[in-house]
Symmetry: C2
Subunit: 89 residues, 2 copies
DNA sequence: TCAAATTACGGTCGACGTAAGGATC
DNA sequence: GATCCTTACGTCGACCGTAATTTGA
């Protein structure tokens, strides 16, 4: 499970489909489709239901989403925690 | 920041040097050295002090360590949360 | 001089993008 | 037939490992 996969999952969940999520992530559709598929394979569970008009979260996807957001937030916080700590002006 | 980098950081911190950490991670020294350096570059801070007998955490490294462990734990928990939920026998 | 880390370098594997191919409404 | 996702395929960059170099006690 890579950070890119987690970011991709959140983007697709929030966009409701690959098309807009790919724009948001600045990549094209095929690699995004593959990232999601790889994540699902690794987890052993489908996270999205493929519909005609986009991708909808499965129950497992709904369960995973807050975890995914928490991981991304934890990573951002970790980075900030060691960032140059500008002394209060 | 990749998951491998975070795992590598924790392994080196716990092993006290690259040599044993590399064994633990089943990789050789050079890529491990590069992973740590890349993480430090990305964070803009040295995480280890290079000593003759190994690597010792800097203050920034000490700050980062619990965050790193938390991220790895969150990832493991996220995976378990959607794992095939074997019904109570 | 020894132990540990880093740098150099060549090869391989993975991930991207373009293009073509379903599938669903 | 229009829209969205997926598969095929070729290319290029990233990462690994071996080997050589550097650093510090």
């Amino acid at each position: 499970m890579s950070v890119e996969q987690i970011e991709s999952f959140v983007a697709v969940a929030e966009s409701g489909g690959l098309r807009d999520a790919a724009r948001r992530l600045h990549i094209t559709l095929p690699p995004l489709s593959r990232r999601i598929r790889a994540l699902e394979d690794e987890l052993g569970t489908e996270l999205f239901e493929r519909r005609a008009r986009g991708m909808a979260l499965t129950p497992a996807g709904h369960t995973f989403l807050p975890h995914a957001r928490g991981i991304l937030a934890a990573i951002a916080l970790a980075a900030r925690s060691v960032a140059a700590d500008p002394p209060a002006t």
